[in-house]
Amino acid sequence: MTAVATHSPARKVFSGLVKIRELGIIVALAALIIYTTTSQPRFLSAQSIRDILLNTAILAVMAAGQAVVVITRNIDLSVGSVLGISAFTVASMMSDNPGLPMIVALLVGLAVGALAGLLNGVLVRYGRVPALVVTLGTMYIFRGLIYSWAGGDQVNADELPGHFLQFANDSILGIPWLVLIALVVVGGVSLMMRNYRVGRELYAMGSSPGAAELAGIKVARNMLAAFIISGALAGLAGVLFASRFGTIDASAGNGYELNVVAAVVVGGVAVSGGSGTVWGAGLGALLLTVIGSALTVLDINQFWQQAIVGALIVLAICADRIVAVRIARSLRKRDSHV
């Protein structure tokens, strides 16, 4: 038996370039933090870091789910509306039954989201409607449902039980629950995508849908799973949202889908499917949040924020393209030398 091949040049080049993608985000993050901190040292105070992490948590949870869907060469634009439905459902439930423990709230949120995700998945897979169209449609539909249900109603912080609101501020071992949940979600989904069969099959489906069918991968089951994960995590994010912000109306999470897609794309997940990592998407979420905070602290016109996010998305897509072309070229060169 031959030993496992040692690192060949091509492998080094390849893994090097892939790492560059996530490394790029980390470098950008570091540069931004250093610059902001030099002009406003309190940017790195404990309270400030806590705030940034708390703000990242919700976005990162959703980005993890979105990354799974995007890796399969689909997209889920309904996540903002799913967050809204889940947040409002859970908030209403908690205000009506203040005695319910937090875990019930979390489970209900997950379930509501999973149901919405299932609907998306069924329409995409069995209705043969492109994900863009389906989730654009359900984005409208879910939002319309919340509006019709909630109308002008609002669940205020004082109607919610204390332990529900406290959840957003409580910590365990100094790490806020929200951050912990986000870490567990991003870590768990990363692990699933990296080390489990179903994860690799999802990559395979995004990398070459036709070959995935031929390889006997249970494409339908996996695609439903991807949309359910995205929906369920958006639902979970809804619970976290309700707990953190305390004030929930029908517009909760409106427009979030853009930030989530931005985080995923900036985090290096290619919209053409098959490549990118979940933890990259988490980093993307962190980067976007830090940019938002830094702009506030640096006293830069807040209106720039959206423009910067847009420019970042475009930049990230261009960067991915360049990396992909480079890889292809370096591999081809290597082959032609052999």
Partner: protein, 339 residues
Amino acid sequence: MSDASVSPRSFRGGLGKLASWDGIIILLTVVVIVAASLGVPNFGTSRNFTFLILDLMPIVLVALPMTLIIVTGEIDLSVASILGLASSLMGWFWNNGLSIETIIPLVIVIGAVLGAINGFLVNALGLPSLAVTIGTLALYRGLAFVVLGDGAVADFPFDYTGWVTGTIGGGSVPNVLIPIVALAIVFGIVLHATPFGRSLYAIGANDQAAHFAGIRVARTKFWLYVASGAVAALVGILWTLRYSSARADNGSGLELAVVAAVLLGGVSIFGGKGNLPGVLAGVVLLAALQNALRLQDVSGQALNIVTGTLLVLSVLLPNIVSSIRTSRQRRKLRQAATS
């Protein structure tokens, strides 16, 4: 999905049905209008006609180039943001003392440039149009806010604002119907009666075959984005004048309504199929439905649900019909074989 082994029969079934899908939409539109005129008080009035046209003006205009883009299998989600940026710029230029006669062409040119940026990213760099235009959607809207902030510029001359909201000779035909009809004819001819239009269908259905037939795929699509940007900017101007208010948030979310209308009109999101009359019917159907429902005091929230459902159904229904047909044919074949 688009397995190369899709059977020719399903192509024929799909295509024949598609032709009738336009027919269904056009018929449905007529039915909705007739039913609303009879059943909804105040729907069939001439003033309501004016309002209806004014309400659908932005969607129908933006839908024209969008139809061409989707026929080539691409998409442009940044149109509403270009509209907003055009509106912001219009206000900013106006505040800085430019004359409106300078502003209008200037803003349209800027819109074309914004479209050209999309076109460059998508076609010269070969990036996926969905991702690119989600990016520029955020970018252009952000720039709109950078230009004008949260404020509004309102003091546009009445000669212009009045023209946009006015009617021809004070009758019941709104002035904005002139640009709508003119541009619809132009885009209709370009799509349906020019070599350029022919090439769009070829690109959308199979860009490789189009390339092999000597069609300059990237360049062709590039100009569609330019047209889309210019038209979106024009709509930004009309929007600003209609509401006498230049604001950065003008038209936000419009891209979804436009895409919904185009798909509802029978254009395939995969490209290569669809026609302009269908799209026009789709736009009118959505607008008439919304107008009628609003007159019936159905809330705006329910309108969201209607739009979303129609969007999904417009793609889902033809698929369901075609799969029922295929499975029925298969069953027939099997029965014929066993008997």
